[in-house]
């Protein structure tokens, strides 16, 4: 009797999985209330929360320069940009919640080091040119990733991406504009721009993650259409798009192996320092500790504020009841 029930359940699950895959294959969006395999849900929560964390941690290196921005116009634009990233974070945390992930817990996982975020934000912003380089390269790389995600299989994630992509491409243009102004400025300004490109280029390429050969989850994510391109494909798209921009700005990409390959119709490029990549992921980047500490501190120091707001709301509620 018991075995029969178990078998029945197993059959049902199998059937549901097949139906699920059929929907995916037909490019029908999965919505929060639809049945989905547990692993699909978990993979998505992981990816979306990582994305949300990246938006929020990513505020820090740029916020560094709000008080030092070189003109009022740049100050206002940078402030607005960092605020956009906060909005992206919020939007993505909400998308995670549609899958039953508690926002508080999700954030605690970031603070405990359990959850990851984009390794790029563990590099320091040393000069003003870094603000240009981040917009140009980091937002630029994010767009390549996210344009593909506009067609991801999970509805709320895809829709979040449509909205976010518009703003990211604005950030990218703004960053590139900062860089070109520097590149066309005084020798000191141009040197600042080149220095920033030298430091941000390789970490930007690392943003797409390990090579396909070292990316074991890619296949399943592709089958579920959570991902629509492999890491290497996306990285290549980014390089192909960016080389020209560097040329136009009159800056040199710090890769002596970078060369147009007529046959492939793509740029060949040098070896990425994967040892550095894995170390930064592991927590050994120049700013990992500093970034997490800043987020943790914001949360700890905000605790009493949140408690006060809740206590006040409680009091108001009981007043209404008493009346």
């Amino acid at each position: 009797m018991f075995n029969f029930v178990a078998m029945q359940v197993e059959n049902d699950v199998k059937q549901m999985e097949e139906q699920f895959q059929a929907k995916i294959d037909a490019d029908i969006r999965i919505e929060p209330r639809d049945w989905m395999p547990e692993k699909y849900r978990k993979t998505l929560i992981r990816q979306m929360s990582q994305h949300a964390h990246s938006e929020v941690v990513g505020m820090l290196p740029e916020a560094n320069w709000i008080t030092r921005a070189p003109s009022l116009r740049r100050k206002v634009a940078l402030l607005a940009k960092v605020q956009d990233e906060a909005g992206h974070g919020l939007y993505l945390y909400s998308a995670c919640e549609t899958l039953g992930a508690d926002r508080e817990e999700t954030i605690d996982d970031l603070h405990s080091g359990k959850a990851k975020y984009s390794s790029i934000f563990n590099y320091p912003t040393i000069t003003w040119a870094d603000i240009g380089a981040i917009g140009w390269l980091v937002d630029g790389a994010a767009i390549v990733n996210q344009v593909a995600l506009q067609k991801t299989s999970y509805g709320p994630y895809a829709r979040a991406m449509v909205k976010i992509c518009k703003e990211e491409s604005f950030h990218q243009r703004q960053g590139y504009e900062i860089i070109t102004v520097l590149a066309n400025g005084t020798p000191a300004q141009k040197a600042m721009a080149q220095d920033a490109l030298n430091r941000w280029w390789w970490p930007s390429l690392m943003m797409f993650g390990p090579t396909d050969a070292d990316s074991p989850n890619t296949q399943q994510s592709m089958a579920w259409r959570i991902k629509r391109h492999t890491n290497d494909e996306l990285r290549q798209m980014f390089i192909d798009a960016t080389v020209k921009q560097a040329e136009v700005a009159g800056l040199t990409i710090p890769d002596k192996d970078l060369k147009w390959n007529e046959e492939r119709g793509h740029y060949d490029f040098g070896e990425i320092d994967w040892e550095e990549f894995y170390n930064v992921i592991k927590g050994n980047g120049p700013c990992n500790k500093q970034r997490i500490e800043a987020r943790r501190k914001a949360k700890e120091e905000g605790m009493w504020v949140r408690e006060a707001a809740m206590a006040y709301a409680e009091k108001q509620k009981s007043k209404v009841k008493a009346a």
Binding site: L72, V76, L79, L90, Y93, G185, A298, W304, A311, K315
Partner: protein, 248 residues
């Protein structure tokens, strides 16, 4: 050039500039993400006002907006001491904001009638923005004051630190007198009772006592500042000082 007008525009513009700079320090570090965004909204509005005023001060003296904003000496900044006070904790930031917003809203309402078109135009836009700012800061003062013991205590501490800087909001001298007569400036005597009433109203809900009559600091309008401004300026001016004459 109308020397008094320039002075008046600087006073108003520096209040916005310096407070906007302070609020910008919060970005990325707010107590919750939603509040991070809200504080940044306020900062953006206030810096937008600062830009209009720096630009205007520049036009009066044949300078560029950024020259006025970044390339003055400490004694040439004319903001009230209140806005240069460090952020402290969230209670201090919010209370500072509340005192300022409660001043700025009736101030801008009056300024809408200014005969100076740049100023009346600015005021028209700023009234809308400041209405929201005051709502936001009032709500938080009430929440913190009537929230937990800790939040109430923190707000009280902030009040002890900031109260002595509130009197200067109503400082007026020959600059005001002349421009009020010309129909350009706001008569601050009209603003004070409105500010008092707002503070009483919000403090009552926040269960806070208004401090007794006490000594008030002043000096900002004449360029005499607290020690805090120098540090703020060295950060804010760094790029313009290090790379003179560049485009950004």
């Amino acid at each position: 050039m109308n020397k008094e007008l320039y002075e008046y525009v600087l006073r108003m513009g520096d209040d916005s500039l310096i407070l906007g700079q302070r609020l910008g320090e919060w970005c990325g570090h707010g107590p919750i993400l939603e509040e991070d965004i809200a504080l940044t909204n306020v900062a953006l509005d206030i810096l937008g006002q600062a830009r209009i005023l720096m630009d205007y001060a520049g036009k009066l003296t044949n300078k560029k907006e950024d020259e006025v904003a970044f390339l003055r000496e400490e004694w040439d900044y004319k903001n009230v001491l209140l806005v240069e006070q460090p952020n402290g904790d969230f209670a201090k930031t919010i209370l500072r904001q509340f005192f300022f917003d409660a001043f700025r809203l009736p101030f801008f309402k009056e300024l809408q009638n200014s005969k100076d078109e740049t100023l009346s135009g600015l005021a028209l836009k700023a009234v809308k923005e400041t209405t929201y700012h005051l709502q936001h800061s009032s709500n938080w003062v009430i929440r913190l004051g009537d929230g937990t013991d800790e939040s109430h205590q923190r707000l009280k501490t902030a009040l002890e630190e900031l109260w002595m800087f509130t009197g200067e909001l109503f400082y007026a001298d020959e600059v005001d007198t002349k421009l009020v007569n010309e129909g350009i400036a706001v008569d601050l005597n009209k603003i004070k009772p409105i500010w008092d009433a707002k503070v009483s109203e919000v403090f009552a809900q926040a269960k806070l006592q208004i401090p007794e009559e006490s000594w008030m600091q002043k000096g900002g309008r004449k360029g005499k500042h607290t020690e805090h401004l120098g540090f703020l300026l060295s950060e804010m001016q760094y790029m313009q000082r290090a790379y003179p004459g560049c485009e950004w």
